[in-house]
Amino acid sequence: MKLPIYLDYHATTPVDPRVVEAMLPYFTEKFGNAASRSHAFGWTAEEAVERSREEIARLIGANDERTAQPDAKSIVFTSGATESDNLAIKGVAEFYKEKGNHIITTKIEHKAVLDTCKRLEKEGFQVTYLDVDKYGMVSPDDVAKAITDKTILVSVMLANNEVGTVQPIAEIGKITRGKGVLFHSDAVQGIGKVPFDVNAMHVDLASITAHKMYGPKGVGALYVRRSKPRVRLTAQMDGGGHERGLRSGTLNVPGIVGFAKAAEIMRTEGKAEAERLLSQREYLKKKLMSRLEEVHLNGHPEQRLPGNLNLSFAFVEGEAMLMAIKDVAVSSGSACTSASLEPSYVLRSMGIGEEAAHSSIRFGLGRWTTQEELDYVADLVVDKVNKLREMSPLWEMHREGIDLTQVQWAAH
């Protein structure tokens, strides 16, 4: 077992060696520009890109409803999900602005969605940020109620990166399709780990990225539905008209090939992997919660990503925990770990209280997580939580039976 141990798979993932192998020829031998139409270097690159496109479409169930074959043309390659989110939201807003100016999203979306919406608000669009419940789940009814005749887009993530809660995408899709409103989902964290099918769930736009599924950083895709309805977008990157005019710029061929290989592996091995991750996650959760008191799970207990375990260890602050378990890579919702000194906005939106955010730790399990690592981490975490609780005035006050919610704190 090597140290440090990586348990932050929601932040990024190592590239699968099979993916690296698939990419290599495209750096040195098959290095052509996929847009070079007049010679074999370009044709070879283009073929690789088209095969990759099909693979990505296959992963998300983007099948042409007539032929039941993957609709490769519905996949637009980008530099990553942040760009895909920008393209989806700004692209729809700009194209459909004569039809309406209202967008609906949730308070727990990734910043790539939230900040894009904030920018659109400055340009005169109206955005509704839906609340979530204490599990971080959005209600399809709330979506339905928020839709007006000016609504042009609903954007709800497939699964939240912090607490792992999986959203009711199929129910929301039914509502948006019924009301003729476009539905975008940032599917980054859930792809391959939980069911996601753009046709079955009536999703019209979907953002995905390679580096969260054991592919390389710097490449992602946006699914853009081509029929019933045909989604139109205003391109955000101009210059050359690549990707059917939706996203100009020379394609990152090696990245795309790697992305497709990662997608193929996810499609074929993802289900078994998800089952393994689920049992490993439950194992870690049980070990920690049986050996420590006052440990609380953040996010939905069942409808969550299999590898995600977000726990609040009461009376111990998150960054102190990270320092204490410094040979284990995890992350925290504590203010002290953010550059802006703001605690996690996701946990705040769930209404679980700021103190719970400050004492939260997110464990993200993944493809190479071993039982040995989990045993080591469980022992270490239990030991350090106990040690930090010995140093915590809040733990002492709790043991004395003092109700901390009744104390008058002298905050500065």
Binding site: A320, M323, P393
Partner: protein, 134 residues
């Protein structure tokens, strides 16, 4: 953001973690911060003949907060109450090499010291008043 060696040292080898009897008339207790802010420090001093003979702390907060309050207890021991009042957060920042984003931890430690001293003084006043009333 790698942790500074001194900050890690205070966490791994904590000095003066503990609790003094807050009902002891020679003990001053300062409790500052709030759980909602992610920072709570409890700092206690035991004073005999105007000199701080013992100091203890407990902190809910990040590594820099723990180190700041731990360092504060180290510096308090052996000082007179007047000298203790002069301890400034900037000295803590320098000693621990705190980056700008962690300066507020040292400010809270300075607040904790002043709060403990204020509590001690309040107790002495109450004692005097009680005596005068007899």
């Amino acid at each position: 953001m790698a942790y500074s060696d001194k900050v890690i040292d205070h966490y791994e080898n904590p000095r003066n973690v503990g609790t003094l009897d807050k009902n002891d008339e020679n003990v001053g207790t300062g409790l500052v911060g709030a759980p909602a802010c992610g920072d709570v420090m409890r700092l206690q001093i035991k004073v005999e003949e105007g000199k701080i003979v013992d100091a203890k702390f407990k902190t809910f907060g990040c590594g820099s907060a723990i180190a700041s309050s731990s360092l504060a207890t180290e510096w308090l021991k052996g000082k007179s109450v007047e000298e203790a009042e002069k301890i400034q957060n900037t000295a803590i920042v320098e000693e621990l090499n705190l980056p700008p984003v962690k300066i507020h931890c040292s400010v809270l430690a300075e607040d904790a010291i002043k709060s403990a001293i204020a509590d001690y003084r309040a107790k002495q006043e109450a004692k005097k008043a009680a005596k005068a009333a007899e």
